[in-house]
Amino acid sequence: MLTAVADQQAVPRRPWHEPTSPDRSPGGRPAPSVLREVVEAPEAEASQEASRTWDQENRLVLSELDFLSEALGRAWRTSPSPLEEIAALTEVEPEARIEVGPPLDLDEPVESLDGSPSPYLEERLHTAQEVAVELSGEFERMERRSTQLRRAVRVLETELRRATEEVAFLRSEDARPVEPDPAPARPMVKPTPAPAGRARPYEGPERPARAASPPYDRFTVDRYNGTIAALVARRRKLAVTSVALSIGISAALLTLTVLAREPIPTPWVLAGLPAVWLIPVPFFLASFRGTHRVLSREPLSLPEAP
């Protein structure tokens, strides 16, 4: 695409006051000495030579731009503006981007406006590359953000769908008359022979009705809160009583031991057997600490059911 544009603009127009320089960029392009020879050659020949060189130069530049354009991918191709933007940027006043060359010496022979290479070609190319890279980065960022947005929209749609289902469900529950579930004590199915194993066969029809209400109808939040509140209320008292009782029992045992004046057993008995006895003591200590910690720190009550 850019090559086609280059064909149309094979001979670029330059402002008359644009400084000319014999220096050309390296990399297979005409060296300064070559240019000087071109300037010293007869005017027509030099003009043709310069025109060809400039044409090649332009094709090289634009083929690089073609490559960059391809690299930018889909986003680049869908937007016509980058090409125009690059073209506009390369046509802006050079003072805005690079240093201004030396003032034009009117005594020197003026070379053909059509055939002289631009001294700013390298800088313009660099600028174009920078802009291309910047644009590429911007497009990538836009793509990433649009992907994130699409994802967020999908989540939002899912949540909305679920919320709609929830509302429909809640409305259907409100509309449904509340019927008590049958108690498990109701007569049930015929007994079936049990397979191998120790299970007792079910004897439904013979079972008499035991209670009017199932056992689980007493498992209410009020009872739970009452039980928990009572336990939490007596926790401190429980701890103090436990410690006091422990000390009392231990003191009594030690006193009895001293008063009994029994013979001291052999050392292995005195050291070995108590060790077995003492194994679970850390467990009991951890249990005491954990129980009181969870009862004192964790909020355990539930909101009352209306």
Binding site: G197, V221, L238, G248, E262, P265, S287, F288, L302
Partner: protein, 387 residues
């Protein structure tokens, strides 16, 4: 919210009460803030015990998931872990394994109350935790037997469990296999599969969860309501399964961090030391080792107080839910008997073969048929059994 009851299915009446409690309270609890599904995951053997009962539950809105007999997990786990893994894969298949879905795990006898649902509703609004568990009471079919009295201590001990759970490291190795709530995507990312039979799949799950996600456990308000073992024998078998689970986690389960293994080992040693401690106590009286108390006496008072306190406070937690207060004498003897069973259980587990899923009956034995009323036209009365 998925209320998932995972069981063999051979206690159909207990299962029905569990499911009905959910259906009842979701209808009678305001401000619930979640939609619910009830999943009943059972084995084909369990379904065969009462197919019409299970079909009636299906009619009531319960989704019945019967684990296919030929279903195999990738690692080949068996028992309850297999059923849990099956349910997990079903969630994935149905697209329910996502952050907005929570799973409340129940055993076959885990009834919920209004407080349970409100606790769940409050918990699922939190964003900083993925798993919550709370206190379990045992008031259903309460008879005040030795095994039931012993369960009182478990309820009070749950405060220790909760404190341990919500703090980093779970330093006293506490967890429940029921009455816990976990985010579906988190559960399904961990899974329940294990290499072979894992007697304590719940413990392994908690360990893996903590390893993968860190300290993400929270306190779930509201009680769950279960029933204790009916007999001493059932209590012993239940404890044996726990011991086997702990020993499996310590010794053979892969991926358990060394620190957790040490914690579990200490818990196990503490439990194992109970029987020798009782023996030493008796021996010290008989062999006149009284001076031993000079060493142990300092903490003896504390240990005894803690044990008695667990019974007393456990009963107080249940007081509003059980009918008929047993006498102190009965509670004392029943407590001692129940404690002796718990003390004996680890050694019993060590000396007997590992149980591949002890079946613990949770259905009350069906009452015997009433004898035919005596035909006494003149008296016009029936026998007491027929009333």
């Amino acid at each position: 919210m998925i209320f998932q009851v995972t069981a063999i299915g051979k206690n159909p009446r207990a299962l029905e009460a569990t499911v009905r409690s959910v259906l009842y309270w979701v209808r009678h609890t305001p401000r619930q803030t979640f939609r619910h599904l009830v999943w009943l995951v059972i084995e084909p053997d369990g379904y065969a015990t009462a197919p019409r009962l299970y079909d009636s539950l299906r009619t009531a809105g319960v989704q019945l998931l019967i684990v296919p007999a030929d279903y195999r997990t990738p690692l080949g786990t068996t028992g309850k872990g297999r059923a849990l893994q099956f349910a997990s894969e079903e969630r994935r298949r149905l697209g329910l394994s996502e952050p907005m879905v929570w799973v409340y795990h129940q055993d076959e006898e885990t009834c919920v109350g209004q407080d349970t649902l409100l606790g769940i509703a409050e918990f699922v609004r939190r964003t900083d935790v993925y798993l919550g568990t709370g206190v379990i009471l045992y008031p259903i079919d309460w008879k005040g037997s030795a095994s039931h009295i012993q369960e009182l201590t478990r309820s009070y001990d749950d405060w220790r469990v909760l404190d341990s759970m919500i703090h980093p490291g779970n330093h006293t190795a506490g967890f429940h296999g029921s009455h816990f709530l976990v985010r579906a995507d988190v559960e399904d990312s961990i899974g329940w599969d294990a290499d072979g039979y894992a007697p304590a799949e719940d413990l392994l799950f908690e360990i893996r969860l903590r390893r993968e996600f860190g300290n993400v456990c929270g306190l779930l308000k509201g009680f769950a309501y279960e029933k204790g073992a009916f007999t001493i024998s059932d209590q012993l078998h239940q404890r044996r399964r726990w011991v086997h689970g702990v020993l499996h986690a310590i010794g053979r389960a892969p991926g358990v961090p060394r620190r957790r293994r040490l914690t579990l080992a200490y818990s196990a040693i503490s439990w194992f030391s109970a029987l020798p401690s009782v023996a030493i106590l008796v021996a010290s009286i008989a062999l006149r080792y009284g001076p031993m108390l000079l060493v142990t006496g300092v903490f003896t008072g504390f240990v005894w107080t803690s044990m008695v306190l667990a019974y007393v406070e456990g009963y107080r937690l249940h007081a509003r839910y059980v009918d008929g207060r047993p006498s102190i004498l009965r509670m004392t003897f029943a407590g001692i008997l129940g404690a002796l069973v718990d003390v004996t259980a680890p050694w019993y587990a060590l000396l007997t073969r590992p149980s591949l899923g002890d079946f613990i009956p949770k259905d009350l034995p069906a009452p015997r048929k009433a004898s035919a009323p005596a035909r006494r036209p003149s008296a016009g009365r029936t026998s007491p059994g027929a009333s």
